[in-house]
């Protein structure tokens, strides 16, 4: 069939299908008048369209055939053995029951054939040889013996092992309804066998019930040292080649370090033993993930502590769950046994028993009713461990990851909390107990630390402690209220640091209402609470609320400490920041400048608080249109912070970002993009990809790309920011609206007016509602709306809006602010469209005068305006 025919064939086939079946043939006859071959093909195809030849069935059958074929069948030979049937699936291979081909006694053996993987068979072979060597050296009555080995015709290696006819240990315990003592005696024998292997430098790595068979004599036999590997003191490097086979481990019994891909030790076997014992005692594994391969399951094992067995049993007392539980949940075991198992299940190997023998010794102690070594840790121990761990972590990586930044904060809060603890201890026993209980809860939830997910751990600690507090909110006496106020303030402030607005608000308003109800009687503490809550309002962008609270705090602070005290400047800073948010720029600038002078005098120029105020000053100058000042301040601040505290210091980061913003504002897009990209890299490292500051940087970077004319790039970045901001901050948050506004601008510049319109309309409506029309930020959004109207030819509406914007900007920013320029240009364009050359010229001349006040930055705009003016003059001359 020729190419031309092919498209005809397709066209006519589809054409026919659109008709009713009865009309198809006459259609085809009409169309194929002189093309009998085409007609025949089409008729056949249409006939086939309704015929049901099942291709998928064919493919499935072939797939099944292929799969069956790859397994050994009864009668197949493996060396001098003959396969009887498949009996299981091990870590790296399939296990068959077999007998010696020439064995008159028909002794049965287990043959384990490795799943040969093309590409790395040499490596697999080598490991298989190792395994043979290991097993050959292991002689223990509870470990199955290696008899022989070889390879199949297709090269797949196999091992021949003693076959044990028996029952899996879990089924055995269940069917015989063994008592706690019976299970433990059996289990201790398993431990002894593992100990023996460990003494021979063999780690099993894949211990699970299906690898432990109880033979006819009631003796446990350990099988399938499938992925065992010799550990030699001289050779402690992890072979990267072994990573791949870790994936075929059955992860349900694997330790966190195995799941996380970290180094495996004898203590990994200990962990697996702990899981097995847990299951034998309760009928369930510590983590109930049936989906063994899933990432979620691994994460659970790596990041959380298992519930105690007693807790598991309580859950099982729930009638719905009870039916699913085997009768052995009736087993009795004490807290001691729980502690023993939980100690084996510690996530951090260093917190487990240090050997399987220590573990089995404790089990023997338990059976003999001697004291066991696994005891719940005392509070001082927990606190000490926590602080040690985090001090180390802080010292190592404080500046590099958000998770540790979070921990650094938590650590600092902990120190504060401990001080509180001491103070209240002097006070009242009841208070002490309350705080101690809380702290204990927090630390218990945290324990043990592990290398992954630090931030989550801190958050979990807060969430747990918080919900416990909330749950017991009602019906407490005044003495306890004071303690609760402190603890809730600390928790809320920590949430602030983590950028989690809603829980912060909940705890801080909770704490503040205790103060306001007069249940605390501690003004200094109340002041701290107010400042913390006003910080939350800042994060949630509620400037009025922030201003009201900050002013109240300022009054209180002046009474408490006096107006010149550094502590009072914290409150003044909050007031200034609220004024900034409300658009009272000059007031805010003056307040920040005053704070800066005081702090520099008292703390020094490079103190973090001083640098923070310097940053605020720069922001104010930026908003006020004093770009030189702003650039200068950002540069100095960034350099000072970087030199004294490193480039990932928060002030250095913020100033770098601010620098990028100003450069962007004044049209130096390339320099802006460079600064912002650098900031973004650092911020993602230090603060994480979702942090408001990271998003701010991404937002500005997108804008820089807009400035460089790379609209598609700008669009995709803005879309990413918008999505994350909507998720993190909500649809009405001012920063979300700003991204909408900027994205609308990109769409307008791309000529996609329909995409731009809903965005800018939503942004503008919200901003007007939230902060009024005459707020500098609202005016920017209004200008963008006006530009869109202009570009889409709606002159009347554009002009009306531009006039409102001009009046607003003149009133709020003054007649010389560079922002006025875009408004004037817009008005000039309206006039030009109407041939109103004289008023257009007037607007342009005023715009030109504005650019003259910032000559070094607005060359582009100036050139543009001059050109327009020149054209006007020309046409006027004509």
């Amino acid at each position: 069939m020729t190419d031309g025919n092919w498209s005809e064939l397709e066209r006519l086939f589809n054409g026919a299908l659109e008709l009713a079946p009865a009309e198809r043939d006459s259609y085809l006859q009409r169309e194929c008048r002189d093309r009998p071959e085409l007609l025949a093909s089409l008729r056949e195809m249409l006939g086939n369209d309704s015929a049901s030849t099942e291709f998928t069935g064919l493919v499935s059958a072939s797939a099944r055939d292929w799969l069956e074929w790859t397994a050994l069948q009864r009668g197949d030979r493996a060396g001098s053995y003959r396969i009887l049937r498949k009996i299981g699936q091990g870590g790296m291979g399939t296990v068959y029951l077999a007998s010696r081909a020439d064995d008159e006694y028909r002794q049965q053996v287990a043959i384990k054939v490795i799943n040969r993987m093309a590409g790395d068979s040499a490596d697999v072979q080598r490991r298989f040889q190792d395994e043979r060597q290991i097993l050959a050296n292991l002689h223990h009555p509870n470990i199955t013996h290696l008899l022989d080995g070889g390879s199949l015709d297709d090269g797949s290696p196999f091992l021949v092992m003693e076959y044990v006819d028996g029952e899996r240990i879990d089924h055995y315990c269940e069917t015989r309804a063994l008592s706690t003592e019976g299970i433990l005696r059996l289990f201790i024998k398993v431990c002894r066998a593992v100990e023996h292997a460990h003494q021979n430098l063999v780690i099993h790595r894949d211990l699970k019930p299906s690898n432990i068979t109880i033979d006819g004599a009631g003796e446990p036999r350990l099988m399938d040292f499938g992925v065992a590997k010799l550990i030699r003191r001289s050779e402690n490097s992890e072979n990267p080649d072994t990573v791949q086979d870790e994936r075929v481990l059955t992860p349900l019994y694997a330790s966190p370090e195995q799941l996380g891909g970290a180094a495996v030790s004898t203590l990994s076997d200990l962990y697996s033993l702990g899981v097995i014992l847990y299951q034998l005692m309760t009928g369930r594994r510590p983590f109930d993930g049936e989906d063994s391969g899933s990432y979620a399951y691994a994460r659970q094992v790596i990041e959380s502590d298992p519930p105690s067995m007693r807790k598991r049993r309580l859950e099982a007392a729930d009638p719905a769950a009870a039916s699913a539980m085997p009768p052995r949940t009736a087993l009795r075991f004490s807290r001691d046994l729980d502690n023993i198992v939980l100690k084996a299940l510690q996530r951090d190997p260093a917190q487990r028993y240090q050997s399987v023998s220590a573990f089995s010794r404790d089990l023997e102690n338990y059976l003999a009713r001697r004291p066991v070594s696994a005891r719940p840790r005392s509070l001082p121990y927990l606190v000490q461990r926590f602080v040690q761990r985090n001090r180390l972590a802080s010292a190592l990586i404080l500046a590099f990851t958000v998770t540790v930044t979070g921990l650094g904060v938590a650590l600092w809060r902990q120190a504060e909390l401990l001080a509180v603890e001491r103070d209240v201890a002097r006070d009242q026993l009841a208070r002490t107990t309350a705080v101690l209980g809380l702290v204990e809860d927090m630390f218990t939830g945290l324990y043990p630390d592990n290398s992954g997910g630090r931030e989550i751990t801190v958050r979990e600690m807060l969430d747990q402690a918080g919900s416990r507090l909330a749950a017991s909110e009602a019906g407490r006496d005044a003495a306890e209220a004071a303690t609760r106020a402190v603890v809730r303030r600390i928790i809320g402030a920590t949430y602030n640091e983590l950028g989690l607005i809603e829980p912060a608000r909940e705890h801080l308003t909770g704490a503040l209402s205790l103060h306001r109800a007069g249940q605390v009687g501690d003004d200094a503490e109340m002041l701290k609470t107010m400042l913390a809550l006003s910080m939350t309002y800042k994060l949630s962008f509620e400037p009025e609320a922030r201003l009201v609270l900050a002013e109240e705090a300022l009054v209180l602070s002046r009474q408490l400490y006096g107006p010149g005290d550094l502590r009072t400047f914290e409150a003044l800073g909050a007031v200034a920041s609220a004024n900034h948010m409300l658009g009272k720029l000059e007031l805010a600038r003056d307040q920040f400048a005053a704070i800066y002078q005081q702090r520099r005098r008292a703390l020094g120029a490079s103190h973090p608080r001083t640098l923070g105020t310097m940053y605020s000053n720069a922001v104010m100058e930026h908003w006020l249109g004093n770009y030189d000042q702003a650039l200068n301040l950002y540069r100095r601040c960034e350099a000072l912070a970087r030199e004294t505290h490193g480039e990932t210091n928060s002030s250095a980061l913020r100033c770098l970002s601010g620098l990028g913003l100003v450069l962007e504002t004044i049209g130096q897009h390339r320099e802006a993009a460079a600064a912002l990209a650098r900031h973004l890299t650092l911020a993602e490292q230090v603060l994480g990809p979702e942090h408001p500051q990271t998003l701010r940087s991404l937002h500005s970077l997108a804008d820089a790309h807009r400035g460089l004319g790379d609209y598609p790039k700008a669009e995709s970045l803005f879309l990413a920011v918008l999505q994350r901001r909507r998720e993190a901050l909500g649809n009405r948050h001012i920063e979300t609206l700003q991204t909408e506004m900027k994205l609308a601008r990109v769409y307008r510049l791309m000529g996609r007016f329909d995409a731009a319109r809903p965005l800018i309309e939503h942004a503008l409506t919200e901003e007007v509602a939230q902060q009024g029309f005459r707020h500098p930020a609202t005016l920017i959004a209004a200008q963008e709306k006006a530009d869109l109207l202009l570009d889409s030819g709606e002159l009347v509406a554009a002009e009306a809006l531009l006039e409102r914007v001009l009046a607003g900007r003149e009133a709020v920013l003054g007649p010389d602010h560079p922002d006025l320029q875009s408004t004037l240009l817009g008005l000039a364009r309206v006039e030009l469209e109407r041939q109103g050359e004289v008023p257009a010229k007037r607007y342009l001349e005023r715009a030109l005068a504005l650019t003259e006040s910032h000559p070094q930055y607005q060359q582009e705009a100036r050139t543009q305006i001059r050109q327009l003016l020149a054209e006007l003059d020309l046409s006027g001359a004509r």
């Binding site: 291709f55 099944r64 799941l259 391969g293």
Partner: protein, 188 residues
């Protein structure tokens, strides 16, 4: 189970899509081996009441090798690759079985009773493969769609998502391609 192992595949996919042919060379054996390995494990899994479909393998493979963050273009490339590999595996297998029948000894012959439908299927699969080759000569895209459906086991909705085609276009193309394929097979 190494949680970070999927990374190289993601990178290779991206490079491949960006036009790096060497990435495909590296990716192909990886996918081929992994499919075979997963199939073997799936088949011999302890609790398998195996009603195994190639579909399940491709999906499982995908879930195993590629993180969910991979975008749809990479996903569609990956599915196409898996489908092609699955077809190749089955065709290789059918050829090998035929060779055994004709007296070769590539595998050992099992002594248990053979499945009844066996022989016919092998030939049919090879015919299907040849017909698909012919289709690809005429219209490569439609042949790829059938690969995805038959050997990748993708549902209609998944194909919509993976190919980015509208449901009406996809439906039309598949109907046409299947009708043509049947015509080829019945005339062969």
């Amino acid at each position: 189970m190494a949680l970070t192992d999927d990374e190289p595949v993601t990178v290779l996919l991206r490079q491949w899509r960006a036009g790096d042919a060497r990435a495909l060379d590296q990716l192909t054996p990886l996918v081929y081996d992994e499919l075979r390995k997963r199939a073997r494990i799936a088949f011999s899994a302890e609790n398998a009441g195996h009603t195994l479909q190639p579909t399940a393998l491709v999906h499982e493979l995908f879930g195993r090798l590629v993180p969910s963050s991979v975008d749809w273009q990479d996903r569609s490339h990956f599915y196409a690759l898996c489908s092609r590999m699955m077809r190749r595996i089955l065709v290789d297998h059918a050829k090998a079985r035929n060779a055994v029948k004709r007296g070769g000894k590539a595998y050992q012959v099992p002594m248990e009773i053979e499945p009844a439908q066996d022989g016919a299927n092998l030939e049919d699969l090879l015919s299907l493969d040849r017909a698909l080759e012919k289709l690809a000569e005429q219209d490569k895209r439609k042949a790829e769609l059938l690969d995805l459906q038959l050997f990748g086991g993708l549902s209609f909705r998944e194909m919509e998502e993976v190919t980015g085609l509208s449901s009406s276009t996809l439906d039309r193309d598949l109907r046409f391609a299947r009708a043509w394929l049947k015509t080829q097979l019945s005339s062969a």
